[in-house]
């Protein structure tokens, strides 16, 4: 079976102007990320701000083209596809954004917002579009009378339901979710996570779940990819990452995440400093200036991603 989504060494550079008399700087927002995602699975992409999470989401949804590497949707290489195939592939992969207050047009009714993808991508007539949008509203738990209402009349949780409905109205195979619950309150977050789990089973979707919240990731993910400064530092199954993390950055991230249990007393690995700027990344391993295990080789050679202890990990200090 071919994977629903496969990335091979995806990279994306941006050139940033630094003023009239200086040459533009090259920012490696994403420096070679590979993974493969099958139908019915959830890949969580974990990283801090500036790690390249959102760049990856933009590449996966074909909003931007990668500078290097290949992206395969259902086995078809996007870069070499004909325009007609590309258009078809675009429909297979949809996105839900972080901020449900910014991702809906305030002058468009919910019904209009849901019907627009159908209007653009299909030759359905008006009656069919209306029926399809009402059907999808029911699936995400919105009442039919919301069809003619405007976004400002809804709470954050309901808006996120609308955004999810709009993403799945074309029946895609893959959904890229960029921090879909981080703007929501705890009680609403659980509702939306349950909805996502239900929709995945019902429509046979594959999820790429971009998040910085490890407790949510532990709940929803099958596989986890940890990225730091554009590099995938560790990729593996949920159990491998959460019970037996190998990369020092993954370990620090796990130990820094607060646990809602006052009796749990854990050893905390406090990282010193902050992530370096991607304009001037450090030589060698991108994590070495903050790494507690750093030794001479890390400062010179960049560690490749290798299969060690049942996961892909890029670190010289991890023994096979």
């Amino acid at each position: 079976m071919t994977a629903a989504l496969e990335a091979r060494g995806l990279a994306r550079d941006y050139s940033v102007a630094r003023g009239a008399f200086r040459r533009p700087a090259l920012v490696k927002a994403l420096a070679g990320v590979s993974f493969s995602l099958e139908v019915g699975r959830t890949l969580a992409v974990v990283g801090e701000s500036g790690s390249g999470k959102s760049t990856l989401a933009r590449l996966l949804t074909l909003i931007e083209a990668p500078s290097a590497g290949a992206l395969l949707i259902e086995g078809e290489d996007v870069a070499h596809a004909t325009p007609a195939t590309r258009r078809r592939l675009r429909r297979e992969i949809q996105m839900v954004f972080q901020n449900p207050y910014g991702s809906l047009n305030p002058r468009q009714t919910i019904g209009k917002a849901l019907e627009e993808p159908l209007l653009v991508n299909t030759d359905m007539n008006a009656a069919d579009r209306r029926a399809a949008s009402l059907a999808i509203m029911e699936k995400v738990g919105l009442r039919p009378e919301y069809h003619h209402r405007y976004p400002h009349m809804f709470s954050g949780g309901q808006r996120q339901r609308i955004a999810i409905a709009r993403a799945i109205v074309l029946r895609p195979k893959i959904l890229v979710l960029d921090e879909p619950v981080s703007a929501l309150d705890v009680s609403i977050r659980a509702q939306v996570l349950n909805l996502l789990a239900g929709l995945k089973d019902e429509f046979g979707l594959a999820y790429v779940f971009v998040s910085h919240d490890l407790s949510v990731v532990r709940h929803i993910a099958d596989e986890v990819m940890v990225i730091y400064l554009g590099h995938a530092v560790e990729t593996g199954s949920r159990d491998a990452i959460f019970h037996d993390a190998q990369h020092p950055y993954t370990r620090a991230l796990l130990s820094a995440t607060p646990v809602a249990d006052p009796t749990a007393r854990r050893e905390r690995i406090l990282l010193t400093g902050e992530p370096p700027s991607p304009i001037a990344p450090p030589p060698g391993c991108p994590f070495h200036p903050r790494c507690p295990l750093v030794f001479d080789r890390c400062r010179v050679d960049k560690p490749p991603a290798e299969t060690k202890r049942g996961r892909e990990v890029a670190c010289w200090a991890v023994t096979p």
Binding site: E48, S49, S155, G157, Q158, D185, V186, S187, I188, R189, A190, Q191, L193, N194, A197, H212, L214, S215, V216, R218, H219, I220, A252, L253, S255, A256, T257, P258, V259, A260, D261, P262, T263, A264, R268, L270, L271, G273, E274, P275
Partner: protein, 332 residues
């Protein structure tokens, strides 16, 4: 003596569509060297209650309380001028968005110095020295150079450290931190929380932590106040709250956390927090409560005793089982 002691605090805003009660009968007590967490969802009034204590609310707000004491002073009786001199000196506050709390037009050293000259009357030389000292204390590397930096030159974590340095400038007795780490990354959040707890230990100040993150509460607070739709629904020591929540809302909130879930499907709380104009009769949580019965929809509950976490509920939970005691007293 309790450092901050507030009883039955109510804050009402005059809005165009009538009065809106943002905070409704909240009790807050913080001691020196104690960490109190106030938890609640957006709109639960947790920030407004603390802004009222600081005296930072706009003129449209009406603040009433049975008692509002800080360090032996009656805040309600103080003149506006005296309260201004208190805020920023003995009680200080840090806010959620460090990037927007700093003035982009002045260096951070100048902005910290403003506090020092306003409250302590320090001269220029002494001010500059103290600013560098404060920046070093909050763990900013190369503080002398950073004091001359403008806010846009600093990262989010650094800006929050500057805000903390500013709040600590006059060695406050009470520090109120309103979601101090929400805008920050996890590894930076750990650094900032660590810093706040260390400064509390060293200076013996009281710390009020406003947050929605139960993980942060569990790891930092001594006691917890849970707010829902402006009301205080439970107040317990942290360990007791996590081990045996007494209000159904607290219990549901904890159960909905992904890290405490035992099954794939999370036990979500149905519905949404009531807004300004759709407040239900009786208990405000009753439409979403798994334990609600007819009286909950009609009669506002009374507060249970401290052994039941002062839960605002007809039938507070004990070990997950509703206790009928309070209801019979109410005669329903």
């Amino acid at each position: 003596m309790t450092l901050l002691d507030i009883r039955n605090l109510t804050v009402t805003f005059a809005t165009r569509r009538g009065a809106f009660t943002a905070v409704d009968g909240v009790d807050v007590a913080v001691d020196r060297n104690e960490v109190l967490a106030i938890v609640g969802e957006s709109g639960s009034g947790k920030s407004v209650a603390m802004l009222a204590a600081m005296g930072l609310l706009p003129k449209t707000a009406t603040v009433t309380a049975d008692r509002m004491n800080f360090d032996g002073l009656d805040l309600m009786a103080l003149s506006a001028d005296r309260r201004r001199r208190l805020a920023g000196k003995d009680m200080a506050m840090i806010f959620q968005e460090p990037m927007t709390s700093l003035n982009p037009c002045f260096t951070v050293g100048f902005q910290i110095g403003e506090t020092l000259s306003a409250h302590l009357g320090l001269a220029r030389k002494a001010r500059a020295a103290r600013v560098v000292e404060l920046l070093a204390e909050v763990g900013i590397p190369d503080p002398a150079r950073r004091a001359r930096a403008y806010p846009h030159q600093l990262s989010g974590g650094m800006s929050q450290r500057v805000m903390i340095a500013m709040a600590l400038a006059c060695r406050p007795k009470l520090l109120i931190a309103d979601e101090p780490t929400t805008a920050l990354d996890v590894t930076i959040q750990a650094q900032i929380l660590d810093l706040l707890l260390r400064l509390r230990r060293e200076n013996g100040m009281g710390l009020v932590l406003i947050t929605h993150d139960m993980g942060v509460v569990a790891e930092t607070a001594d006691r917890v106040i849970v707010q829902y739709a402006g009301q205080q629904v439970e107040a317990s020591p942290t360990r007791a709250l996590f081990a045996d929540p007494h209000h159904p809302y607290t219990a549901a909130l904890l159960a909905a956390l992904p890290e405490r879930a035992t099954e794939r499907r999370l036990p979500a709380i149905p519905g949404v927090v009531p807004g300004q104009f759709d407040r239900p009769a009786g208990c405000l949580f009753s439409p979403r409560c798994a334990f609600a019965f007819s009286a909950c929809h009609r009669i506002a509950p009374r507060r249970a005793g401290p052994e039941l976490g002062a839960a605002l509920c007809h039938t507070p939970l004990a070990a997950g089982v509703p206790q009928p005691g309070a209801l019979q007293e109410a005669g329903a």
